[in-house]
Amino acid sequence: MRKVCLALSFLLIGVLALPVLAQDMETPQMGWWDECATPENLPDTVTIGVVFGLSGPISVYGGPQQQAVQLAVDEINESGYLGEGTTLVAMFEDSAGDAEQAIAAMTKLVEEDQVVAVIGPTLSTEAFSADPVAQENGTVVMGVSNTAIGLTDMGDFVFRDSLPESSVIPGTIAQATEVLGLEKVGVLYGNDDDFTLSGYDVFVQALEDNNVAITNEQTFARGDVDFNPQLTALLADEPDALVVSALAAEAVQIITQARDLGYEGPIIGGNGLNSPSVLEQSGDASNGVIVGAAWNIASPDPLSEVWVSNYQAAYDATPDQFATQAYTGAWLMATAIRCGDSADRTAVRDALAAIQDFPTPLGTFSFDEDRNPVHTPVVQIAQNGAFGVLGAEE
């Protein structure tokens, strides 16, 4: 299996060097999926709406997400994925991380612009505000970074391609406990943020399930930059590992400051720590950071590698997990439109729900009956500035 992958990777590098050839050769790249025929009944333009946090602090995530979707849309149009003469248009709206603006943006897209489907919003809290607007209008809305529990319970038009924390973290803890022999840990989490707090909930449950004791819990608030007080308190108990539920910017600080305080043990994190900036910015300090996530930049999946290099070529930056999920989301949406051969909202919903075993940068992707994603998360450990599979070394 591994050999096949390796071979594919080599092939891919060659393909990248000769993009023109790639089209002809039908090598693994997005859009390569032969389960449904090229659509014939689509209008000249199919417009999908995209709601991301493009201004304010949330734009750190929303900005790359927008670029990812745009990249996907360009690829889809160039490859004629929706058939000759059909152009996919993404209409972007900013929600600024604010529930009211998310509702307004969603209403504008769904009711005024009459888009076929919507991707977004960036935050779970925005999704809980705005997704019902789409649901009430019988329009598909797909979260690409919403990890909160119960999101898709809002209705049969609500989808997401982002693995909820509850599908990622338990595996991470189980594996880490096994490999590292954890007995007691200190927990540090952001308690004023939905994302980090839900992550904390799942961590605590998972630690309990694996009989790992929690010596001390500390919290921080979004925008905090000095974690010395919390870390000093946590490290006083000499834990086997630090468990951290934080977003990227805070995670960098936590990792570097913990190392500065002399802590050398493992640091276990969730989705939030899974950002290229975490590794880049914390340098050697990141050695021993264990991350369970839906996707990682080091993923050996050939589609993932193509995606990363395309993104780098287009924007001169490395994509993070949320951007990858946004990119995948756009492709999933296009695939639903293609396979449904219709720009009708309900047809798109049905076609999307039917997607099974679709090859994506996230791995082989399916929706379950609750419109949640099914694919294998990865548990990885940072060594010398790069991620490797946990337990695989030595």
Binding site: S55, Q218, T219, A221, T232, T256, D260, Q281, G283
Partner: protein
């Protein structure tokens, strides 16, 4: 005990940043009687200019630092000219000036956001990690680990504060500032160019705010157009705690808020730290409505 000393050092270095930031607020307030809510944007610009100087122009830190301060100072003067002076001319209520400063802050943050996107294709960027040697100074006997950058900040902050104190008390323009703060009309009668003093005050406030922002960037490396929001409320709390418009009060307030935040984490966990800060503020205001080092209100009337 070891942790307590360690936390004490944390509190002092954080307090130094808060104090420098709060000083700018306090100086503008002492002269105008108006809160400059755009001061947090100036703080952010300090970090931003520092980032540009180091990351884009590859300048050394010792050169980037004055550039950040100067840049922040100049934008601060721009604030006075655009957001405050026209309103003063129209005898507008102070509350209108407060709102115009909010408008200016929104403007600055959004423009910075656009520039960020242009340069970094993102709304965040990081200062290089090896800017200052990060090997901590270890004092084994006390079990202490101190990052050099933190010591550096405390030292530079103290130097800046002493310089400011000297300027205000010993130099002519500083004395003119105090005269204008005491009574504009009388100061004008004595031949002091009041509008020049305003500009100078805004410049100084901007320089100090920019320095605080630059420190913040150097310590925490992560720079975004929004870091001002993190300190806006803290700075306000510091000057109210210390006494509005009092320069030593702002310094005291800054250290006090930092100390409280950190020790409430040590004692009761970090969930309540801002609540603890505000409860203390509340109690102090009820006992001393003018803040710790502020002048009683009756003397201003």
């Amino acid at each position: 005990m070891d942790t307590l000393i360690q936390q004490g050092i944390n509190a002092i270095s954080l307090g130094a940043i808060y104090s420098l930031f709060a000083l700018g607020y306090a100086m503008v307030f002492s002269i105008l009687g108006v809160l400059n809510l755009a001061h947090s944007a100036i703080f952010m610009l300090g970090a931003f200019f520092g980032l540009i100087a180091i990351d884009q122009w590859s300048l050394p830190l010792w050169l980037a630092f004055p550039i950040a301060m100067l840049g922040a100072g100049l934008v601060s003067v721009g604030l006075e000219l655009v957001a405050f002076r026209p309103l003063r001319r129209r005898n507008a209520a102070r509350i209108s000036q407060l709102i115009s400063s909010i408008g200016a802050a929104i403007l600055i943050v959004n423009i910075t956001q656009l520039i960020f996107r242009q340069i970094y294709n993102s709304t965040e960027a990081y200062l290089p990690r090896d800017l200052i040697p990060s090997d901590p100074i270890v004092i084994e006997s006390l079990g202490l680990r101190v990052q050099p950058v933190r010591m550096l900040i405390v030292v530079i902050a103290l130097v800046l504060m002493v310089l400011l104190q000297y300027l205000v008390n010993r130099v002519r323009i500083g004395q003119h500032m105090r005269a204008v703060a005491f009574n504009q009309r009388i100061a004008a009668l004595f031949g002091i160019n009041v509008s020049r003093i305003f500009i100078f005050t805004f410049f100084l406030a901007g320089v100090l705010g920019g320095a605080a922002g630059m420190f913040y960037g150097v310590v925490f490396l992560n720079v975004t157009p929004f870091i001002g929001e993190d300190v806006a409320l803290i700075g306000l709390t510091a000057i109210v705690l210390g006494g509005m418009g009092s320069i030593p009060g702002a310094v005291l307030g800054g250290f006090l808020v930092a100390g409280l935040q950190i020790f409430s984490i040590v004692i009761g966990g970090s969930s309540f730290r801002n609540a603890v800060v505000f409860l203390l503020l509340f109690i102090i205001l009820l006992i001393r409505p003018q803040g710790l080092l502020g002048q009683p209100e009756s003397t201003r009337a």
